[in-house]
Amino acid sequence: MREENARAYWAANLKLIFTYLIIWFVVSYGCGILFVDALNNIQFFGFKLGFWFAQQGSIYVFLVLIWMYAFTMNKLDRKFDVHEE
């Protein structure tokens, strides 16, 4: 039982990491590098959108991702009863 619980916890963690890393990849390598020229045709306030993602937006998204991961994992820790005392 304990082992099964640990396995389920790990699977949930991997799923979370996977989801977040896809977002991480899309904003930085996607919007900031691979599709930057296409996005640059869109105006975002005084920025070209691709340029904004490369120099500002990706960093904000990274921040949100790390904080969300920390909060979600704290909840998961409790749900699977593996949290620290």
Partner: protein
């Protein structure tokens, strides 16, 4: 009060603060010395990580690089922040749960092999020394520019300060001085940026001012967006558009990946997460670290765009004799050079270099000067329209003067530059000393030494490391700038994959890990050495493998590491039972005690 006196006051005051903290936070055990007793709060650790991470290069050079490279510099912004996402999700929490002192500790234990441990120690020392040499030089340069002391004297003063708190306090002393250094450096970076943003766009936040419309000299809105205007001016001068890239997409992609994975694999960054009390704290602490870093990293591109616009509008087609005072001051220090190619007395800017290399002058202005009073440049002149050389480092250092900011802001920038260089140097020196005293001495050569002896050895190793770093600071090897690619490339090709597989792939064994590290390292090392040192004349896109520059080759090395490690581990015996238990154990947070020596 004049700038000189204020600068002495600010820098002196910050030094007194660092020394005070060092005395207050002396280390009394190896645990204090290596991981600050494992009791650092996540916010303090976040600030310390940010100071540790942001070097003299981040503080002084980055905004300048962005100002001159525009979009192409984005790769540094994304690369050096995106790595924290990897660190927070893939490495930091599990390494904290593992609960040892150093990165080679993890590799040696997880792969049950002293060979793996020794390879890791060598990588740590090599990566950290390449990095620290540049920092010591940075301390010297900041001293020389602001306090008018000799560069070498500046290095010696820097060494003495680091010596005091690194040797006395170890990680504990370093952590709390880094928190103070972070406060000094971020304040010093933000104040001029905010002033500049208000001046040019009326926005208090540089992050939004950067995308706003420009104000004219009288403070009225011109209705033209700053970036549009900047694109226009640089294209008129024959440069590519500021907001568009000139580098190939594939190269940018690989460089970004090498910087991100390298960041996550740098030992002096990883080890910071060993100092917090719990796994939960390690996750949150990465969030704080990136928040503190992002404050500077989202401001720097704004500063770059403001400064480039300001610079061109002030200097281009201006009469030399009418230029503002800072132009002459920086010309005096050799960071600006002007050749009046068309003899019209006006300064012209244009794409291309004005002359070959960095400016060499015929003598001081008082002794030899040209028809307009300029310093005479002796370099071989190129046959384009560009007449002026402007060193990229000026952007941050001269911003307060260019924006006509008060003298105390200039003094603050000096203290900030010194703080940035000292904090990074100290973090790296600690990693070197613990690799020697803990991993090499205690874990490999002489396991029977007492804790007291180990602590003494750690302090001695720190002393030796400081002396060597100081030597490199005073006699910089010509290749310091070249080898930064080394640090990131090697960290990406060695530590990142090996630690990642150690946590996420239970079946990975010592044969696979050692083979993977060896191949990744050897490949990356030889590629960089070949293009940077053996045949630098071939270092251009058509000769590169898949069009990947030496800066980005660490990514290829990393992929090779993964493939080789996986293949070798499939054909060799699985790791012993107790190792598999260690892996299961580090995957769940419960039971993380303080970092222990076992």
């Amino acid at each position: 009060m004049d700038v000189q006196l204020l600068t002495y006051l600010f820098v002196g005051g910050s030094f007194a603060l660092y020394i005070g903290i060092a005395i207050w936070s002396r280390a009394s055990s190896t645990k204090d010395f290596y991981v600050a007793g494992g009791g650092v709060s996540p916010i303090a650790n976040g600030a310390a990580t940010a100071a540790d991470w942001m070097s003299a290069a981040s503080f002084i050079s980055m905004a300048g690089i962005i100002a001159f490279a525009g979009y192409d510099a984005s790769v540094y912004l994304m690369g050096w922040t995106g790595g924290y996402v990897l660190l927070a999700m893939l490495l930091a929490p599990y390494l904290r749960k593992f609960g040892k002192f150093t990165v080679p500790d993890f590799i040696g234990d997880r792969y049950y092999s002293n060979v793996a441990r020794t390879v890791a120690v060598i990588c740590v020392i090599f990566i950290s020394f390449t990095y620290v040499a540049g920092q010591m030089r940075g301390v010297g340069i900041v001293f020389a520019r602001f306090l008018e002391v000799d560069v070498n004297m500046g290095v010696v003063i820097g060494m003495a300060i680091v010596f005091f708190y690194a040797v006395l306090g170890g990680m504990k002393g370093i952590t709390y001085t880094q928190v103070a250094q972070y406060c000094v450096l971020i304040f010093a970076f933000l104040v001029p940026a905010v002033f500049l943003s208000i001046l040019m766009t009326g926005h208090v936040l540089p992050q939004t001012g950067f995308g706003a419309t420009v104000l004219d000299a009288a403070g009225n809105d011109t209705g033209v967006y700053l970036l549009e205007r900047l694109d226009g001016i640089v294209q008129d001068l024959g440069f590519g558009a500021y907001t568009e890239g000139q580098k190939s997409t594939i190269d940018v992609f690989f460089i970004a990946a090498a910087l991100m994975c390298g960041t996550a694999g740098l030992p002096h960054v990883i080890v910071r997460f060993f100092t917090v009390p719990t796994v939960r704290d390690a996750r949150i602490s990465a969030g704080w670290a990136l928040l503190f870093i992002a404050l500077l990293y989202t401001t720097a591109p704004a500063v770059g765009a403001f400064a480039r616009t300001n610079l061109i509008e002030t200097v281009h087609q201006a009469e030399y004799e009418e230029l503002p005072g800072w132009f002459y001051n920086w010309e005096n220090s050799g960071l600006i050079g002007w050749v009046d190619k068309n003899d019209d007395g006006l300064v012209q800017m244009s794409a291309g270099a004005a002359f070959k290399g960095t400016p060499a002058f015929a003598g001081d202005r008082a002794d030899v000067s040209g028809p307009h009073g300029e310093r005479v440049v002796t370099n071989e002149v190129t046959d384009n329209d560009a007449e002026v050389y402007i060193d990229r480092d000026i952007i941050v250092l001269a911003n307060p003067e260019i924006g006509n900011l008060p003298a105390w802001v200039i003094a603050l920038v000096a203290a900030g530059g010194v703080a940035a260089a000292l904090s990074t140097a100290a973090g790296l020196l600690l990693v070197i000393s613990s690799a020697v005293s803990h991993d090499l001495l205690k874990k490999t050569l002489k396991p029977d030494i007492s804790e007291k002896q180990e602590l003494l050895a750690a302090r001695l190793a720190a002393v030796v490391a400081i002396l060597i770093a100081g030597y490199f600071g005073i006699n910089p090897p010509g290749f310091v700038a070249q080898v930064v690619a080394f640090a990131f490339g090697l960290a990406a090709a060695s530590f990142f994959p090996v630690i990642l597989m150690g946590i996420f792939y239970k079946r990975m064994n010592k044969e696979g890990a050692i083979a993977g590290m060896a191949v990744g390292l050897a490949f990356t090392f030889s590629y960089i050495v070949y293009f940077k040192f053996v045949s630098p004349e071939l270092n251009s896109a058509e000769n590169w493998l898949f069009g990947v520059s030496p800066e980005g080759i660490g990514t290829v090395g990393m992929v090779l590491n993964f493939i080789v490690a996986f293949a070798v581990s499939r054909v060799t015996a699985p790791p012993p039972e107790h190792i598999q238990h260690i892996v299961e154990d580090i995957r769940v947070p419960r039971g993380a005690g303080g970092a222990s020596a076992h």
